[in-house]
Symmetry: C2
Subunit: 135 residues, 2 copies
Amino acid sequence: MRLINRNTDYAIKALLHIAGNSSGRFPVSELSDVLKIPHPFLRKILQVLQKEGILLSSKGKGGGFALAIPPKRIYLTDVMKIFQGSLELDHCLYRKELCPDIKTCPLRRKILSLEKRFVQELASITIQSLLDDKP
Amino acid sequence: MRLINRNTDYAIKALLHIAGNSSGRFPVSELSDVLKIPHPFLRKILQVLQKEGILLSSKGKGGGFALAIPPKRIYLTDVMKIFQGSLELDHCLYRKELCPDIKTCPLRRKILSLEKRFVQELASITIQSLLDDKP
DNA sequence: GTTAAATGATACGTTTCGAGTATCAAATTG
DNA sequence: CAATTTGATACTCGAAACGTATCATTTAAC
Ligand code: FES
Ligand code: FES
């Protein structure tokens, strides 16, 4: 099962690098170098994080990206939502509204309850907590 | 997030139908009719379940599929493994063996522990337990 | 002010994979 | 034999994931 896609993973890695090194601005060139992520791809990702208010950016020489909010307030689930959409563990193939079985589907009830707890646990992970875990 | 794909879902629905109606053999034609699943697609799915020892099959007139083992012993996670591969919530994009960060990746540890509990809970679901839930 | 280095915006290409179809062969029943 | 069923397997199609390319804009340093 794919829990986390590349966009999210790269985003988290970039955020960890920025949060873990308190210099001012990090240009994409530095990040893509250190993290071995294709430059234009990472750039697109960071631009999204900027639009979403997680990163600040400045153009021109000496520019780059910096955190817009403290690592404690950057949640893994936020990043996942940005790059992967809803976190619901959608077992149902049809769009929920259209599913002919939604009333009777026995899988649905079971999974909804498991889902809730799982997402709650996921939601406790922040950039800060990931940093704290590092050796 | 896609927890369950179409193969798995269709497989579960077919298994529920078979388990819930104690006639002898269920030809694909009947199942695909009742469950509104394209005939050749469902057929392929049931053939896999047969190979995996979950269904019995017999050819020819009056043939079809029947459970090979009791509903209590058919686990959702077994079906998921068959059609979706490993249940690991693989956050890592690279194949595990090749991932350059596998030692240091802070996401990995966090997610592995959440994963364990989640899969354990999933693993409690069987065809029988789904049947019992039905109204 | 010119130039180099950076991001903003956005369009495009490529690969992968999920979902479903098509076909022929083999078995079973009557 | 004829009809009905599964076995095996190759193929198509479309969407989504993944990644590239390009041009415009801003900024700092010289
Ligand atoms: S198949 Fe749609 S809710 Fe279960
Ligand atoms: S990125 Fe490979 S283990 Fe985390």
